[in-house]
């Protein structure tokens, strides 16, 4: 055998390569079984970026299903609550071009809102409770219902099923606790050093653009 190999070095090399391939193949095969990842890690990461309003505006029943759909190649611009920032984050994560928000799935709300049940009009039908994806409505059959506003994601899925139309979406007012400093007005950074930098000139430039 050794003699044969020494006589045919090409054969020896082939044998060595095949042997190595077999060993590493076995190693990889073992690793694939031993370190198997449960679930879809990409979908998990996408789900972390999605705003978890569970509103279904994307056409999927919740954020998790949409995350899975994105992982399988769905467009990233179907989430209005996530807004442009959300699309940008998804684009960064998936290394794709950020797309403008698909307006057929809704517009970005200027301010987040929460559902509010006009309690005097509630008939206690529990339809909104069944519709709420995050269990943010308390109540029982023939008892008044109310929204736990801190848990409400503002998805407005409860508005449509209400037979007496007693649910309003109320935009959240800015309070002392939610107020924060804004970035300086870019206008204050306008350089007024040379004569052509006058505001009038600026306006005409805007028109030209």
């Amino acid at each position: 055998m050794i003699e044969l190999l020494s006589q045919y070095p090409l054969f020896a090399a082939l044998l060595a390569l095949v042997g190595l391939a077999a060993v590493f193949g076995a190693l990889l095969g073992y690793a694939a079984v031993r370190f198997k990842t449960e679930g879809n890690p990409i979908a998990d990461e996408i789900n972390n970026i999605l705003p978890q309003t569970q509103c279904g505006q994307c056409g999927y029943p919740g954020c998790r299903p949409y995350a899975e759909a994105i992982a399988n190649g769905e467009d990233i611009n179907k989430c209005p609550p996530g807004g442009e920032a959300g699309i940008q984050a998804l684009a960064d994560l998936l290394d794709v071009e950020p797309l403008p928000l698909d307006s057929e799935h809704g517009e970005v709300a200027a301010v987040p809102s929460v559902a509010f049940i006009r309690e005097a009009e509630c008939i206690g039908c529990t339809k909104c409770i069944q519709a709420c994806p995050v269990d943010a409505i308390v109540g029982a059959a023939k008892q008044m219902h109310t929204v736990i506003s801190s848990e409400c994601t503002g998805c407005d899925l409860c508005v449509e099923p209400c037979p007496v139309d007693c649910i309003d979406m109320i935009p959240q007012q800015e309070t002392l606790q939610t107020w924060h400093w804004q970035l300086p007005d870019p206008v204050s950074r306008r350089v007024d050093i040379i004569a052509t930098d006058t505001p009038q000139d600026d306006a005409s430039r805007d028109r030209a653009a």
Partner: protein, 673 residues
């Protein structure tokens, strides 16, 4: 002389402190209305415990602490609660916030309060609780609840207690005048703090621009073991972390607390408030506030009640609104423009600055960053302000965090030195707020996700339970069926069918006529039996002369009738059997089947016949039926049956006669054809 250390960066802005220290602290008196905001500190706002119209005494608690990070509020003077409503407060947002409005009665009547000059016999935790109940929150500007700061985690060894008398920001002299006038109270307060914390050394740090204050403190600390440390003036050496570095040379780690390096810091103003609370039992209801700036004629320090409107205080100092364009709460470096001159002063209002336009001009428009690096040289936290500025502009929050944005103390040194007048601190404040908002949003999203998943799980579980119940029911039914089948050795349905068939067979089987005959015989026998018993009873009744004789007699008659009928039926059947002969001896296997077969056979027979033959057969059949009906009619007449029956039979006979004539005509036609 103790060795002091330095810290990175810092600036030397004009101090402008001399204007307001020319006169001693003046009592501002009681304004016509006091507005006490419920939130004057960092943490949860206090909860109102008084009602509108209620009369309160000076020092009475009107709002209680809610939770750990909260302090109560007290009535600054005696009077009536005139409103509990949202009022504009001293906040850069200009928002309204819940406030208690107190209309003073002018008597300034104290609630009964007793101090604890013997505090050294008290439990330390009880002492901290006492400080908390006195509503003391950091009076240097941030408003961090003092009790929280003093509640050092057990096991943490505090080496140094620092009383912060730096007051590094320009214009402000509130702490300076306290040192000059109330050095003994500061020292007493420091002793209380020393007792609570138990440090190895207690230091009072003062910048060297307050020689009178230092002298007064040195005189008061004689023999107390508290050291007054003087160090060179530089802004912002009053920052907690900067002061710790100056006095001890230790740096508080990024994102850490001073207690991690064995230091606790307290402001001079808070120290005096703690002294008042512990020794005299008086809660924090007033503070020393500097009113200064070129737009006030007599800049000075006031002892002002918490809730005093700023306008009232400014007017006492000779405010000239025409000269003043904006009113600043705090100093020129870290203060903010108050939205309205009528907002009340709070526990953190150390200074009201009313500058003229010349004194503190509106910042010129910002220009482009030229990367000069002066901001980095000035930064006391050793950050890279221009780098942070770029990231803030691009909203690159992750990079901002990596560059330790949250170590920025917002001192404003970078903006001060910036040759391009870029409002750098505003960028950092906005970015910090944005990041915090994002964290909150993410937390909320996480909570929503958990709730959504929990709901999903619950629904799935409910569905699975339902499914399981359904399966269990199905299984149970199968089991029952199996056990039933095991008894008879076959399927229950099959068994039922078999039973039914057996019954039918028994009725129509080989012994069908016999069983009918038997039944009739049985009926005769039982009727005979009943008649016998009835007759016996009648006999008995007769012998006893009973009233029942008549009734029994009718019963016996009836039974006899029945017997006769039964016998008649039996004989009739037997006769029919005899007449039926061979035709009826053939047992019909299945009545329906036989009928169908008969009908089929008949149709076939009819189909094979010619029309004439068919007509003839029909005629024959009709004639047969007529004969039968006539026979029945005759029988009925002879029997004397009801008229209706006879009529019916007569009409049938007439109809049949008609039909026969029609059939005869048909036959005629068929034959002709």
């Amino acid at each position: 002389m103790r060795k002091t250390y330095g810290f990175h960066g810092g600036i030397h802005p004009p101090e402008n402190k001399h204007q307001s220290v020319r006169t001693p602290i003046a009592d501002a008196g009681i304004p016509p209305e006091l507005v006490i905001p419920l939130s004057q500190h960092i943490g949860t706002p206090a909860g109102v415990i008084v009602e509108i119209g209620e009369h309160v005494l000076k020092g009475q608690m009107i709002a209680e602490a809610q939770g750990f990070m909260s302090v109560p509020k007290h009535a600054p003077t005696s009077g009536t609660i005139s409103a509990i409503e949202d009022r504009q407060i001293a906040h850069p947002s200009g928002h309204f916030a819940p406030c208690i409005v107190l209309t003073p009665d002018g008597r300034d009547e104290w609630i009964a309060c007793s101090g604890r000059p013997d505090y050294e016999s008290m439990d330390k935790l009880a002492l901290i609780d006492l400080i908390r109940h006195a509503g003391i929150a950091g009076m240097g500007g941030a408003g961090f609840p003092s009790s929280v700061k003093l509640s050092v985690k057990p096991g943490t060894e505090i080496e140094t207690l620092i009383i912060n008398g730096t007051e590094c920001e320009p214009y402000i002299t509130a702490d300076d005048v306290l040192m000059r006038e109330r050095a003994d109270q500061i020292i007493e307060g420091a002793k209380i703090l020393r007792y609570i914390i138990g440090p190895r050394e207690t230091l009072i740090g003062v910048e060297d621009n307050k020689p009178e204050g230092i002298a007064a403190l040195r005189a008061a600390t004689e023999g107390s073991g508290i050291e007054v440390v003087q160090f060179p003036t530089k802004y912002p050496s009053g920052g907690e972390k900067q002061l710790i570095e100056i006095l001890t040379g230790k740096q508080v780690p990024s994102g850490g607390l001073p207690s991690q390096v064995g230091v606790v810091c307290q402001n001079i103003g808070s120290t005096v408030a703690i002294y008042q609370a512990v020794v005299h039992g008086r809660p924090l209801i007033s503070r020393v506030t500097t009113v200064t700036g070129a737009a006030v004629r007599e800049p000075q320090n006031f002892q002002a009640l918490i809730g005093t409107p700023m306008r009232y205080l400014l007017e006492k100092a000779g405010y000239q609104p025409e000269k003043n364009r904006r009113l600043i709460m705090g100093g020129p470096m870290m203060g903010f423009t108050v939205p309205d001159i009528d907002v009340p002063i709070v526990k953190t209002t150390n200074c009201l600055l009313a500058p003229t336009e010349d004194e503190l001009p509106t910042p010129p428009p910002a220009q482009a960053c030229i990367r000069c690096g002066m901001c980095a040289e000035a930064c006391p936290a050793s950050l890279l302000p221009q780098q942070l500025f770029w990231f803030a502009q691009g909203k690159e929050f992750e990079k901002l965090e990596h560059h330790n944005l949250f170590d920025c103390i917002e001192c404003g040194a970078c903006s001060y030195v910036c040759p391009s007048n870029i409002p750098l601190v505003q960028y950092y404040r906005a970015s910090k707020a944005e990041i915090l908002q994002m964290r909150r949003d993410h937390e909320k999203a996480e909570a929503s996700r958990i709730r959504f998943e929990a709901r999903q799980h619950r629904l799935e579980q409910a569905e699975a339970e339902k499914e399981a119940k359904r399966a269990a029911r199905k299984k149970a039914a199968e089991k029952r069926a199996q056990s039933a089948g095991a008894d008879s050795g076959e399927d229950p349905i099959q068994a039922a069918i078999a039973r039914a068939q057996a019954k039918k067979a028994a009725q129509h089987g080989a012994g069908g006529e016999q069983s009918e005959l038997e039944m009739l015989e049985k009926a005769v026998v039982s009727a005979q039996k009943r008649l016998d018993t009835a007759t016996a009873k009648l006999e008995e009744a007769r012998s006893q002369n009973s009233d029942l004789v008549d009734a029994l007699q009718t019963g016996v008659d009836k039974t006899r009738d029945k017997l006769a009928k039964a016998e008649q039926a039996l004989t009739a059947y037997q006769q029919a059997q005899g007449e039926g002969g061979a035709a009826q001896s053939e047992p019909p296997a299945d009545a329906a089947k036989a009928a169908i077969e008969k009908a089929l056979a008949k149709r076939q027979a009819e189909a094979s016949l010619s029309p004439a033959e068919k007509a003839r057969a029909d005629l024959a059949k009709l004639q047969q039926r007529l004969q039968k009906t006539e026979a029945t009619l005759a029988q009925s007449r002879s029997n004397g049956d009801e008229e209706k029956v006879i009529e019916a039979l007569e009409s049938t006979v007439a109809r049949l006669t008609g039909k026969i004539s029609a059939a005869e005509q048909q036959l005629q036609q068929a034959e002709d054809a």
